[in-house]
């Protein structure tokens, strides 16, 4: 049993290294093209010209400094959460929980921001706030991780359920204990402006969270591909029984992957609260967790790929607003493209096989002629 698994692992490894990276890149590009093409058909159902609509979308996302800054602003939390998700995906854990972990991270960091005494220097408080945001998300990720490691309970279902729980917890807190005194709206009090993440381009909302997110991209690379612990996490995703046989503590690795993954999502929530809204309210990060899934997959769990994919998705989100205003195409088109993309990207086995077969045929033809 063990030996077959080992053999399988080695075999998969050899096969994996043979899959040329360019076929994967082509596969990804084809997936994007197909999704945009089908999206275009759906746009024409709404009575708009798809080319014109996509043009408006592009201008809305990149057409001015402000538009570009909004796109990067939207990309920041999704980038962080997607990097986090990649850790669990690389460990073969299909976590859908970023949405809930972002919310919990937003709650814990906001609480820290409101409760930490003001005699502590602002910079120390900011560090503590980030720590609590990370911790909140990490703890919320540990629950499904533990259930998976201990009893093999589907992490997918538990994370989906805990998303709904988090949404309700947020709504309860904002209508109850955390509600701003004398406010009509369900929202928390505004945070001390010494704690706001500074904006670095004048007249925009783009804050330094972008650089923190990019720093985490670099950390992710070193952690996953240069450190033994990252190798262990990947080994578990690769072939859990072979990893166990080789001495990796699989349960601990699963819990760690889910904790880190949740922690980064929690930090993404922190960024959104302290960088953009400066208070907590319902839907402060609605849909970011689902964007992160698509971004992680589209970026092939690769640091550079994820950066590109996060900007692509942020552009879709920001540009779709302009599209709705200009040509009356509902913004929900983004979800359609997102769903299609996830499906097409996952089809890469078929795509790369087809490409390889085609190139083989082509070479044979050449040899024959």
């Amino acid at each position: 049993m063990v030996s077959t698994n080992l053999r399988k692992g080695i075999f998969a490894r050899i096969k994996g290294s043979n899959t040329r990276s360019y076929t994967r890149l082509i596969g990804t590009l084809i997936a994007v093209l197909l999704a945009l093409l089908l999206g275009g058909i759906v746009i024409s159902i709404a009575g708009a010209n798809p080319i014109e609509a996509y043009g408006v979308l592009l201008r809305g996302a990149f057409g001015s400094t402000y538009a570009l800054s909004e796109t990067l602003l939207r990309a920041t939390p999704v980038l962080l959460a997607a990097i986090g998700l990649s850790i669990s995906f690389r460990s073969n854990l299909t976590s859908i929980g970023a949405e809930g972990q972002i919310i919990i991270g937003g709650i814990t960091s906001c609480l820290a921001g409101l409760l930490l005494p003001t005699f502590i220097p602002a910079i120390v408080r900011i560090v503590l706030i980030m720590f609590f945001g990370f911790l909140g998300g990490a703890l919320y990720g540990i629950i499904p991780g533990f259930l998976k490691a201990k009893w093999n309970i589907s992490e997918t279902i538990v994370t989906i359920m805990s998303n709904y729980v988090a949404i309700n917890v947020l709504s309860y807190l904002l209508n109850g204990p955390m509600k701003e005194v004398d406010s009509f709206y369900p929202q928390s009090a505004q945070l001390d402006d010494a704690l706001w993440l500074p904006v670095f381009i004048k007249n925009t909302r783009l804050h330094i969270g972008l650089f923190i997110a990019l720093a985490f991209v670099v950390i992710y690379y070193f952690f996953m591909f240069r450190l033994p612990i990252g190798f262990k996490i990947r080994a578990v995703g690769y072939n859990a029984s072979a990893a166990e046989y080789a001495g990796v503590k699989v349960s601990a690795s699963i819990v760690l992957a889910m904790a880190l993954s949740g922690g980064m999502a929690g930090l993404a929530g922190t960024m959104e609260v302290f960088g953009v809204h400066h208070r907590l309210y319902n839907d402060f990060a609605a849909g970011f967790g689902f964007d992160a899934i698509a971004v992680a997959l589209l970026g092939r769990l690769h640091p550079v790929g994820i950066v590109v994919a996060s900007i692509f998705f942020a552009a879709l989100q920001v540009g779709s607003g302009a599209m709705q205003r200009a040509v009356q195409v509902p913004t929900t088109i983004v979800y359609i493209i997102q769903g299609l993309l996830i499906m097409f990207v996952c089809m890469d086995k078929l795509l790369s096989n087809t490409i390889q077969q085609l190139s083989l045929k082509y070479r044979e033809k050449k040899r024959g002629a």
Partner: protein, 310 residues
């Protein structure tokens, strides 16, 4: 007697709330037993809920709505089947992709068709059918004054049980999920059987969605299913992938939902958010309680695409 009417009300509400879940989990039995991770139930339900609403609103007959939902469910299920069976892609991720796509396309089209806040509200729905004599029984009589969806959903349980366990076709379906190679060796067409099972799942889950829109609410709104497909899947898992187990699981959720709604209207001391999250918390707790048993009962080839070479 006030408590008597409360019990009657909760019994009937449990059956009503369980109906969409029951359709989805009975459909999910076919897809799961033939070896598929059935995350897609949520998306199939959403498509069904939408098409049921559109059919009923356009033609003016709830039956046309249900038929349209069924056809749409089969069509969307073919999309999943193509990706999962033919392209051999990761079933969990394709399921999530289908669900996000379904959420997008239904929210998108409902806006395109009816604009913002201009949705037809007086559509034809499945009304309660009172079964004579049975409906006059004290207390449980309320269970015999429900709509057609609910009756069909509960009739499905013995039918699905019979098909899966007492017919040659059912044996083949279960074998495809346990040991597809054996079926292939004996001359069965694994791919074809798996496609058919996914189509059955699509048809039934979509009817479950229609039971929500044109059975319960008489309305369609964005994300009307709000996780019910996943709850149906959870019911399957801790029901150990059997019709009876799934029925019990679904009834627990239906009951939790019924109690939660009764408490909300009665004005409970608990904040309503705690009541709304109850079904989701119960799902996690139920999975924890029944986890060890269900691990052994999951089909052996669950989530594994079939190819002759391996």
């Amino acid at each position: 007697m006030d408590w008597l009417s409360t019990v009657q009300g909760i019994l009937a509400a449990t059956a009503r709330m369980a109906t969409p879940l029951l359709f989805a989990s009975m459909g999910g039995l076919f897809s799961a037993r033939s070896g598929h991770i059935s995350m897609f139930l949520e998306g199939f339900m959403l498509i069904g809920a939408f098409l049921g609403f559109v059919g009923s609103a356009t033609v003016g007959s709830a039956y046309v709505g249900a038929l349209l939902a069924l056809v749409g469910g089969v069509l969307i299920s073919l999309v999943f089947a193509f990706f999962a069976i033919t392209a051999k892609a990761n079933q969990t991720l394709i399921g999530i992709g289908i669900n996000i796509f379904a959420l997008g396309i239904t929210s998108y089209l409902v806006t395109v068709f009816y604009g913002f806040g201009n949705r037809p509200y007086n559509i034809d729905v499945f009304t309660n059918i009172r079964i004579p004599l049975l409906a006059d029984i004290p207390i449980i009589g309320s269970l015999f004054n429900l709509n057609l969806f609910t009756y069909v959903a509960f009739l499905l349980v013995p039918i699905v049980w019979y098909v899966l366990y007492k017919t040659p076709a059912g044996l083949t379906i279960r074998a495809v999920g346990e040991h597809p190679k054996a079926v292939d060796t004996l001359g069965g067409n694994v791919i074809k059987i798996r496609y058919i099972c996914i189509m059955i799942a699509g048809a039934l889950a979509a009817l479950g969605g229609a039971a929500l829109s044109i059975g319960q609410m008489g309305q369609f709104m964005e994300n009307i299913t709000s996780g019910k497909g996943y709850i149906a899947l959870a019911a399957l898992i801790f029901g150990r992938f059997t019709p009876k187990g799934a029925l019990i699981g679904v009834l627990i959720f239906g009951f939790a939902d019924a109690v939660q709604m009764r408490l909300q209207t009665a004005g409970s001391v608990l904040p309503y958010q705690f009541l709304t999250m109850l079904p989701y918390v119960i799902t996690i707790v139920a999975l924890v309680l029944f986890a060890r048993k269900s691990r052994a009962s999951a089909p052996a080839a669950l989530g594994k695409p079939y190819s002759r070479q391996s």
